[in-house]
C-alpha cells in the first residue's frame, strides 16, 4: 500500500503546498538494510555523572564504530549534525538533577539529523535506591514522550530504563534503538533487567536458533519470518491450510519448515511441539502473530465473531505457550513474543472483541514474565499501531488517512518495523528484556 500523500509531499508542488499551508510533512523513514552500520552519523553522548550504565553506553558506541563526542551541556553548533543524542540519566539522584535534561538537549535538538535518534537511559523507577531517585527517574518518561512529539523529520525519542546491575544487558537494546530498525518505535519505554550475559554475532544474532511464527503466510507474519531468518534463525512457519500456497512461497524463500494448522485446534500446541522436536530438536523463539478481526459494535456483536477473535488472538497463544513451556519443547533461555495492538491499549470503536483479546496478550506477558524467568525464558509483546498491510488497505479512505497521520511520525509503519522489534526481543543478547510491551506505532495519539 503506497502512501500517496507522502509521495505527493516529495514533489516540488507538494513541497510548496506543505510548507505554505503547514500540512503534515512525513519524511520517508529509512529502514535498515543488511550489512549497514548500526548508525551512519556522529553521536553526542551526555550524562549526569559517571555511572556504570554510562560506561556501558560508551563502550557500545565504540564497539559499533560510531563517531561520538561527550558533553554534559549541549553546545549549539552548525557544524555537527548528530545522528543520535544519547543521554545517561541513571545518575539523576533527585529532581535537582533534572535540570541537566534541559541543559543538554535544548541546544542540540535543533541539530539532530533527519531520522535522528534520541535515547535517554534511566534507572527503573521501582528499583531506585531512594524515593528522591524514584521521582526523578519517573519524571524522565514525561520528558521523552514530549520530546518525541517535538522532534521532526522522522526522528524518534525513546527511554530505556535499566535495573541496577543490568547495565551489561544494554547492548542489544541500544543497538535496536540507535539503528533504523526502530524507525517506527517512538516515545516508548523499554525496561531492562538482569540476566545472563550472552555474547553473539550481532550480524546474525539468531544463528542456531529455531523460531516459530504463527500466521506466517502473509503481511506482518511473512515479514517477521523473513526478518528472523535474516538474523540467522531457522523458521517454522505456521498458517491455516487455506494459506498453504503463500506460506510455501515464504518458506521456500527463507528456508525452514512449514506447518499447516489452525492455532485454535485442540491439538495445535501438541502438533507444534511435535513438529519442532521432530524436525528441529526443539524451539527457542515463539512469535504468536496469527490474528483476526471481526469488527462490530458490541450491540451487534455475534457470538461467533466474539469467540473467533478471542480464540485465535488470545486463547490460542495462551494454550500454545503453556504447552510449549510445560512440555519443554521451548528450551530454557527461549523468547516468547506476543502481538498485542494499539486497540488493546487505547480501545477502539467496533473492536470490543479484538481489544479484549489484545489487552489479554498484555496480561499474558505480565503474568508469565516473572514465572518464566526461572527458566530464563523471556516474554514480551509488540503493540503495532497503523501498519500498512493488506488489512489496513481495506480501511475506508478517510479513516485510513486519519489513522496514518495521527502519530508523531505522521505516517503508517511497515510490517518490517514490527518484525525488527520482534527480532530485538528474540535476540538472546536481550536476556534482560522481559515483561515489556513496546508499541510500534510512531507514537500514535491513541492510548498514548
Amino acid at each position: 500500500m503506497t502512501d500517496r500523500y507522502q509521495t505527493f509531499t516529495r514533489t516540488p508542488l507538494g513541497k510548496t503546498l506543505v510548507k505554505n499551508l503547514g500540512l503534515p510533512d512525513p519524511l520517508p523513514l529509512p529502514r535498515w538494510t543488511e550489512g549497514a552500520p548500526v548508525i551512519d552519523g556522529p553521536v553526542v553522548f551526555g550524562a549526569i555523572g559517571e555511572t556504570d550504565a554510562g560506561k556501558a553506553v560508551q563502550a557500545l558506541l565504540r564497539d559499533i564504530g560510531a563517531a561520538f563526542s561527550t558533553a554534559t551541556e549541549g553546545v549549539a553548533s552548525s557544524e555537527i549534525r548528530p545522528k543520535a543524542l544519547v543521554f545517561d540519566a541513571t545518575g539523576a539522584a533527585s529532581t535537582a538533577d533534572l535540570t541537566s535534561l534541559q541543559r543538554f538537549f535544548s541546544p542540540l535538538v535543533r541539530q539532530l539529523a533527519p531520522a535522528g535518534r534520541v535515547i535517554v537511559v534511566g534507572r527503573t523507577p521501582e528499583l531506585a535506591s531512594s524515593a528522591e531517585q524514584q521521582v526523578a527517574q519517573r519524571a524522565l518518561e514525561g520528558f521523552t514522550r514530549s520530546l518525541a512529539k517535538e522532534v521532526k523529520r522522522g526522528a524518534t525519542v525513546n527511554l530505556v530504563y535499566v535495573a541496577p546491575d543490568a547495565h551489561e544487558q544494554l547492548d542489544s537494546t541500544l543497538r535496536f534503538f540507535l539503528s533504523p530498525k526502530s524507525a517506527y518505535v517512538d516515545g516508548q519505554v523499554a525496561r531492562i533487567g538482569t540476566g545472563p550475559l550472552v555474547s553473539n554475532d550481532p550480524a546474525r544474532p539468531l544463528s542456531g536458533r529455531v523460531a516459530l511464527v504463527t500466521g506466517a503466510a502473509r503481511g506482518i507474519g511473512a515479514s517477521i519470518a523473513g526478518t528472523l531468518a535474516r538474523d540467522g534463525a531457522t523458521v517454522i512457519g505456521v498458517d491455516v491450510p487455506q494459506n498453504a500456497d503463500p506460506l510455501r512461497k515464504v518458506i521456500s524463500r527463507i528456508g525452514g519448515t512449514e506447518l499447516l494448522l489452525d492455532v485454535t485446534a485442540v491439538d495445535a500446541a501438541q502438533r507444534i511441539a511435535a513438529h519442532a522436536q521432530e524436525q528441529h530438536g526443539g524451539l527457542d523463539i515463539v512469535v504468536h502473530n496469527a490474528g483476526i478481526t471481526r469488527d462490530r459494535r458490541l450491540v451487534n456483536m455475534r457470538t461467533d465473531a466474539w469467540d473467533a477473535v478471542l480464540d485465535v488472538n488470545l486463547r490460542a497463544p495462551e494454550r500454545i505457550t503453556k504447552h510449549l513451556v510445560d512440555s519443554g519443547a521451548l528450551r530454557d533461555g527461549g523468547s516468547i513474543i506476543g502481538v498485542s495492538s494499539m486497540a488493546g491499549i487505547a480501545g477502539n470503536n467496533g473492536q470490543t472483541n479484538y481489544a479484549t483479546s489484545k489487552a489479554g496478550v498484555i496480561g499474558l506477558v505480565q503474568a508469565l514474565a516473572p514465572v518464566l524467568a526461572e527458566r530464563q525464558i523471556r516474554i514480551n509483546a509488540v503493540a503495532p499501531g497503523f501498519i500498512e498491510t493488506e488489512m489496513t488497505a481495506k480501511i475506508p479512505f478517510a479513516i485510513r488517512e486519519v489513522g496514518r497521520r495521527i502519530n508523531s511520525l505522521q505516517q503508517g509503519g511497515l510490517p518490517i518495523d514490527v518484525a525488527e522489534t520482534i527480532a530485538w526481543f528474540a535476540d538472546p543478547a536481550s536476556a534482560g528484556v522481559t515483561g515489556n510491551v513496546v508499541r510500534v506505532c510512531g507514537q500514535s495519539m491513541l492510548g498514548a
Partner: protein, 425 residues
C-alpha cells in the same frame, strides 16, 4: 429387553454407475432405483412378494419425489403391500438405510427388508429462486385479476435465473473438494500417494469385473454393463499428468483422477434373519454386527469436513471390543483419495488419537492390501446415496467368498458426518 436377532446380508444388486450427463442423463432417480430394485427382486426370487420394509433415499431429490421410495415400490415387482420410506443422510444414506433395516430386523419388528439409495447428478432438480417462488406463491393466493396482475408485475428479469444445486456446504460455501483439499494440506497428503490410491482403485475394480465378482451384484441398465468411470488401462503416469482442480498453486494436489466424479446410479441390499433367508432359499453372505455415526464441527475449521469417520470408527471399535487391525477387509469410501489417506494417517497419529479421540495409543496402521480390494468410489464413481449399498453388498460377498472374516465399512458424508459399520461372517 429381548435378545436381538442376527442381521444377515443375503443379496445385493445395483445398476452400473454412469458419469454425469452420459448414459443415464434422462433417467430419473425413480427409474434407476426401480431398475436396481427389480434386479434384486429377480435375483432373490421375490417377485410379487412382500418384504418387511424398503428404506432408501436420494441426496439430490426433486420436490415431487417426496414419497419416492414408496412410489418406486409401487412401480416395482414387489408386492404393492410392501411399506417403504425415504431417508437422507448425504453420502451416508445408503449405509444408514441398511442400518435402519438391520435394526428393525434385530428387534424383531420385521424379518426382512431392503435398503437402497440412488442419486442423479444429471437429472438434478432445478428450482426457481426464492424471490420468484414467493411471487408465484403470492400469485396463487391472490383472488382477483387485478391482484394477480399486481403480483405478476413484481417479476424481474433476474427472477428467471434458476437455482441449481451445488455440491457445496451451505455454511462454508466451499465445495466438498475444497474442504478435502484443506484437510489434505493439514495432513500433508502428497499428490503421488493420492494418485497411487486412485490407480489401485481402478486396478482392483477392473480385476473384480475380470474374475466375474460383479456378475451377481450388477444388473445392466440402459445398455451400460460396467461402471462408466472405470479406466482399466489407466496408469500412474496418466494420473500424474492431470492438473489439480481443488486448491491453488503449487500446494494443490487434488485432480479429477484422484477425486470422485459426479455420477448417476442406484443400489439395493436385501437383509433378513437367518430363518427368513432359509425359507426363501437364500443364505447369509455376512452379518451386519455393529454400526456407528459421528459428526464433526467443520464450520469453524476445528476439524475437516470429511473426517467424521475417523471419530466414528474408534467409538464403534470400543463397543465391539476390537482393534483396527482385527479386520480382513477395509471398505473406506473414496470420496477423494486424500480423504482416505487423511483418515488413515489420523489413525496412525498419536497426537490426533490422544488429543482428538481421547485414546492412550494410536489406532495404528492397516494392511493396505486389505483396503478396497474390489475397488471403490474413485473407480466406480459415487452416486451419493447409492454408495452405501454398493459397499455393503460387495463386502458381504467378499466375506462369503473368503469363507468368513470381518470387514469394516467407513463412509464420510456432507455436513461433517460419518457412518461406519462392521460386517462379519
Amino acid at each position: 429387553m429381548t435378545e436381538t436377532r442376527k442381521v444377515a446380508v443375503v443379496a445385493g444388486n445395483r445398476i452400473p454407475f454412469a458419469r454425469q450427463d452420459k448414459t443415464y442423463r434422462h433417467a430419473s432417480n425413480s427409474d434407476m432405483l426401480t431398475a436396481a430394485l427389480n434386479g434384486l427382486v429377480d435375483r432373490a426370487g421375490l417377485g410379487g412378494q412382500e418384504v418387511g420394509e424398503v428404506v432408501a433415499g436420494a441426496v439430490l431429490k426433486h420436490a415431487r419425489d417426496w414419497n419416492m421410495v414408496r412410489e418406486v415400490v409401487l412401480g416395482s415387482k414387489l408386492a404393492p403391500t410392501t411399506p417403504a420410506y425415504d431417508i437422507q443422510q448425504a453420502c451416508g444414506t445408503g449405509l444408514e438405510a441398511a442400518i435402519l433395516v438391520g435394526n428393525k430386523i434385530a428387534l424383531g419388528q420385521i424379518d426382512a427388508g431392503i435398503a437402497g439409495g440412488v442419486d442423479t447428478a444429471s437429472d438434478a432438480p432445478v428450482a426457481v429462486n426464492d424471490r420468484l417462488r414467493n411471487i408465484l406463491l403470492d400469485l396463487n393466493r391472490a383472488k382477483t385479476y387485478p391482484d394477480r396482475l399486481k403480483v405478476l408485475a413484481r417479476v424481474r428479469p433476474k427472477d428467471v435465473v434458476p437455482e441449481i444445486p451445488r455440491n457445496a456446504e451451505p455454511r462454508t460455501r466451499k465445495s466438498m473438494g475444497e474442504h478435502a483439499a484443506l484437510t489434505a494440506l493439514e495432513w500433508g497428503i502428497g499428490r503421488e500417494a493420492q494418485d497411487e490410491l486412485a490407480y489401485r482403485s481402478h486396478v482392483n475394480l477392473a480385476k473384480s469385473y475380470d474374475r466375474g465378482f460383479q456378475d451377481d451384484l450388477i444388473t445392466p441398465y440402459l445398455g451400460l454393463e460396467k461402471d462408466q468411470n472405470l479406466r482399466p488401462d489407466t496408469t500412474l503416469e496418466k494420473l500424474a499428468k492431470l492438473k489439480p482442480v481443488f486448491g491453488k498453486g503449487e500446494t494443490a494436489t487434488m485432480t479429477a483422477g484422484n477425486s470422485t466424479p459426479l455420477t448417476d446410479g442406484a443400489s439395493t441390499v436385501l437383509l433378513s434373519t437367518d430363518e427368513w433367508a432359509e425359507q426363501h432359499g437364500l443364505r447369509p453372505l455376512a452379518y451386519l454386527t455393529h454400526s456407528q455415526t459421528a459428526a464433526v464441527d467443520y464450520v469453524k475449521g476445528a476439524e475437516g469436513l470429511l473426517m467424521a469417520p475417523a471419530y466414528a470408527v474408534p467409538r464403534m471399535l470400543q463397543r465391539a471390543g476390537l482393534t483396527l487391525q482385527d479386520f480382513d477387509y477395509y471398505e473406506i469410501h473414496e470420496a477423494f483419495a486424500s480423504q482416505v489417506l487423511s483418515t488413515l494417517k489420523a489413525w496412525e497419529d498419536p497426537i490426533f488419537c490422544k488429543e482428538r479421540l481421547g485414546l492412550d495409543a494410536p489406532l495404528g496402521e492397516i494392511d493396505r492390501d486389505k483396503l478396497n480390494v474390489n475397488g471403490s468410489s474413485l473407480a466406480a464413481g459415487h452416486p451419493f446415496a447409492a454408495t452405501g449399498g454398493r459397499i455393503v453388498a460387495a463386502l458381504a460377498k467378499q466375506l462369503d467368498e473368503n469363507g468368513g472374516g470381518r470387514g469394516l465399512i467407513s463412509i464420510c458424508a456432507a455436513g461433517g458426518q460419518g457412518v461406519v459399520a462392521i460386517l462379519e461372517k
